[in-house]
């Protein structure tokens, strides 16, 4: 009796929806005309969301300016910003990006496997990366909780935010940095010392215990921090620089002594560029992103160059103890060790929720690594 109202309404709404779908279908069928001789060249750019401002407001205008200066044809950019993993899946699903920027290397791998990106994309001196940033700890102005290093995040009264590593590539980097802080104490040299997984698991578990919110993405995590939740946030240095610029609110942060480099890959999706004859332009744009003339723009948005120590104008000095993912065995092993089903991060939860008796069961798992 009560349902009939719903049912009637549902029935009537069928026709407008069908009609709408029909109109939409015809509207979307317009084909893009290929660029003629007089028209500007086109380049479709896919990038992870964080890149929006620096690309759209900083780098693309500079690239266009340089091209005009050297008398080349103008370029019409089609920009699309998605979460890194979603972008990777979109390209696999047929999104025809010519150039793609991801937040982490593993998002490139499926594209290589699918034959969309050349397998030697990471052969160059910077291993396919154009720019980098650091995992840092943001805190409240005045640093009321006295946060200077990872250990400070384990204090009982500190509430910590980071995104969910399941859904956020950025969060995986963030937690990898905590793991690095656990693998190697500050007083050793990382390259000379074997990793200490027990210490890393303890640090990860102790930090996780203080986490109050794990948002799906890094941006949402930052938004939660801006809503005054949490005393500290694990995030990218560039994110905080950017946030300060956009909100006008001071976003102080500290670079922990033992943190990791976040290296950002840019790839030419050769399957697309070859089909569209844009390979040369794609290569030119990627080269520009890694060039010296791009450096000051990157730095303004909180990014550091691949070359040298990574120090950049206007950004705090890079500590000596920063490690690369390669130092932790490369992405595959580092990720498996921390985020795999038997990984330190997953284990730190289960050990915590289980009774102390679960200690022996956790031991054999460690051997597998």
């Amino acid at each position: 009796m009560s349902r009939s109202k719903f049912a009637n309404r549902g029935l009537k709404s069928v026709w407008p929806i069908l009609l709408f779908a029909l109109i939409l279908g015809t509207a979307c069928r317009r084909e893009e005309s290929p660029s003629g001789p007089g028209e500007p060249e086109r380049l479709t750019l896919g990038a992870f969301s964080v890149m929006r401002e620096v690309l759209h407001d900083g780098l693309i205008p500079e690239f266009l300016r340089q091209r005009t200066e050297s008398g080349k044809k103008p370029v019409h950019f089609e920009e699309s910003y998605l979460a890194s993993g979603a972008l990777s899946r979109a390209i696999q699903g047929g999104f025809d990006a010519d150039v793609a920027l991801f937040s982490l290397d593993p998002d490139v791998e499926p594209l290589v496997k699918a034959g969309l990106v050349a397998s030697d994309w990471n052969a160059g001196p910077t291993k396919g990366h154009i720019v980098r940033t650091l995992v840092v700890i943001g805190y409240r102005p005045g640093n009321p909780k006295g946060i200077a290093d990872w250990a400070d995040l384990t204090k009982p009264e500190v509430s910590v935010l980071y995104a969910d590593p399941k859904t956020s590539g950025g969060a995986r980097w963030n937690l990898m940095a905590v793991a690095a802080g656990g693998y190697w104490p500050n007083d050793v040299q990382a390259s000379m010392t074997p990793m200490n997984p027990t210490r890393a698991e303890k640090l990860l578990a102790d930090v996780q215990r203080n986490v109050s919110v794990m948002d799906p993405s890094g941006r949402q995590s930052l938004a939660t921090f801006l809503r005054d939740a949490g005393d500290a946030i694990l995030t990218y240095e560039n994110d905080l620089v950017q946030c300060e610029r956009l909100t006008g609110r001071p976003m102080p942060y500290v670079i922990p002594y033992r943190t990791v480099w976040i290296e950002i890959p840019a790839v030419e999706v050769s399957a697309t560029t070859q089909a569209n004859g844009r390979s040369e332009l794609a290569k030119e744009f990627i080269a520009f992103l890694g060039s010296d003339s791009a450096k000051p723009i990157w730095a303004r948005y909180g990014f550091r160059p691949m070359s040298g120590t990574g120090d950049a104008d206007g950004l705090p000095p890079v500590p000596q103890g920063v490690v690369r993912i390669a130092d932790m065995g490369g992405w595959k092993r580092a990720r498996e060790n921390v985020f795999g089903p038997e990984g330190l991060w997953s284990k730190s939860f289960l050990d915590r929720s289980a009774k102390p008796a679960s200690q022996p069961t956790a031991a054999p798992a460690e051997k597998k690594q």
Partner: protein, 272 residues
Amino acid sequence: MSSTAADRPVPLGGLLLRWSCLSYLGVVVLFPLTAVVIRALSAGPERLWKEIVNPFAWHAIRLSLTTALVMVAISVMTGTATAWVLARYEFPGKGFVNALVDLPFAVPTIVTGLMLVTLFGPTSTLGVVLSGFGLPIIYEQSGIVLALLFVCFPFVVRSVQPVLENLDPAEEEAAATMGAGRWLIFRKVTLPSLVPSIVSGAGLSFSRALGEFGSVVIVAGNRPLSTKTAPLYVYGEVEGFNVEGALAVSLVLLTCSLVSLVAASKLAERQG
């Protein structure tokens, strides 16, 4: 010249309507659901089982079921009461209140989440007071129930209200003339005729709550083994490339929804 219903040709319009509706239902509802089920089952029962009993998944499923049940228990009472007030009393601004009831359907659920965080969040006045009493809501399991209460509010009200409005007042009046008190009349005379609609509202709310994502992702805090509900878990597994894990948990959610909806409609039928 006499013709029975059987001889009469079925009007073409009716036939067309019937079939187009059924095929619409098939395309819009059944196809996607079947696709999910087939993809899930293709992983094999062993794999599915492993994914479901995985402590993270299992906790998420249990959390979704319990928060939905708690919400339904509260909603059944508040929803029936609201329907009662709307059906039985006249008061200024009733039209506005009546429209307000449906608003939770119109608000994007992510806005619901943000709204609740602003109101009850750790730094809001209300949040500070509640935390002082040791009752933090946002980023805790109670926050999930609160979000579900908002999102599912209209279901029970809108199921019960029309029934109440169409109820024959004669029975209640008869009971009153025989000296029954108002509470007794409600329990013995009115409530029994409301049960089917309450049950159907409860079934709808429960199913809706099991799948709720937008508001919960904002208010829950999303902590594994603590405040991560099944839809949040599914999202995490999809993003983490563990499609089987996502499908396995989705299958559990779908089954629970289907069972609750079918059970509610059977129960309502028997009672009605």
